[in-house]
């Protein structure tokens, strides 16, 4: 059995409204990528699926690509289209 990592996933704006939570603790196999987390999110929160296409991911407050490898304790945020200014 592979060892596992635990992440905190944060939701904001439209995605927080869809999931009805602001934060979710998630366990993935060691070596998991953002794309694996994304698949997991779609299973856990089907209502977030239509939003995911336009979202980016941030890991520990920096934008990361789908291929980014996650580490135990990471804080990952789902970032819907930003609208500052």
């Amino acid at each position: 059995m592979p060892s596992q990592i635990t992440l905190t996933v944060l939701f904001f704006a439209s995605t927080a409204e869809a999931t009805r939570v602001k934060s979710w603790d998630c366990t993935l196999d060691e070596g998991a990528l953002i794309s694996d987390l994304s698949a997991q999110l779609q299973r856990q929160f089907p209502m977030v699926k239509p939003l995911l296409r336009s979202c980016r991911f941030a890991c520990n407050e920096s934008f990361v690509p789908q291929q980014h490898r996650l580490a135990d304790g990471d804080t990952v945020a789902l970032i819907p289209p930003v609208a500052g200014g």
Partner: protein
């Protein structure tokens, strides 16, 4: 603080004066305000929310980009969050520089980069209710 998210009304004069430097003869300022319409709908208010720690980190990064590209320019940027009504200021950016080109360019850079990458969201209120704004569909 050179860059900051705040729930308090933005102090335009205070920020302009805080950016003044005796060697800097040029100040470029950008103010983004809540306007009364968007895409032909009338807007009454906007709720701004943010991933606050990351938003401040991104503002900090943007400021470092300016410092690298325009070493003589001093940049301040405050962005408001919370419930804003028409006429309220959402963002104030001030760039002071010995030369006006750099001041304009840095000021413009900051607002463009905020709109690209700063994790801030707005929910617009009109007569029908509220909806999230998606400028990058």
């Amino acid at each position: 603080m050179p860059v900051q998210l705040t729930e308090q009304p933005l102090d335009v004069s205070g920020l302009i004066n805080a950016a003044r430097r005796a060697h800097a003869g040029a100040l470029a300022v950008f103010i983004g305000t809540i306007r009364d319409h968007a895409q032909n709908r009338s807007v009454t208010a906007i709720d701004y929310s943010a991933y606050e720690s990351m938003a401040e980190a991104v503002l900090q990064t943007i400021e470092e980009e300016c410092a690298k590209q325009w070493p003589d320019v001093y940049v301040l940027c405050h962005h408001r969050v919370g419930h804003l009504v028409v006429g309220d200021d959402a963002v104030v950016i001030v760039a002071s520089s010995p030369h006006r080109s750099e001041a304009f360019e840095a000021c413009r850079h900051v607002i463009e980069r905020i709109k690209e990458d700063c994790p801030i969201w707005k929910k617009e209120w009109d007569e029908q209710g509220a909806s999230w704004v998606s400028p990058r569909p």
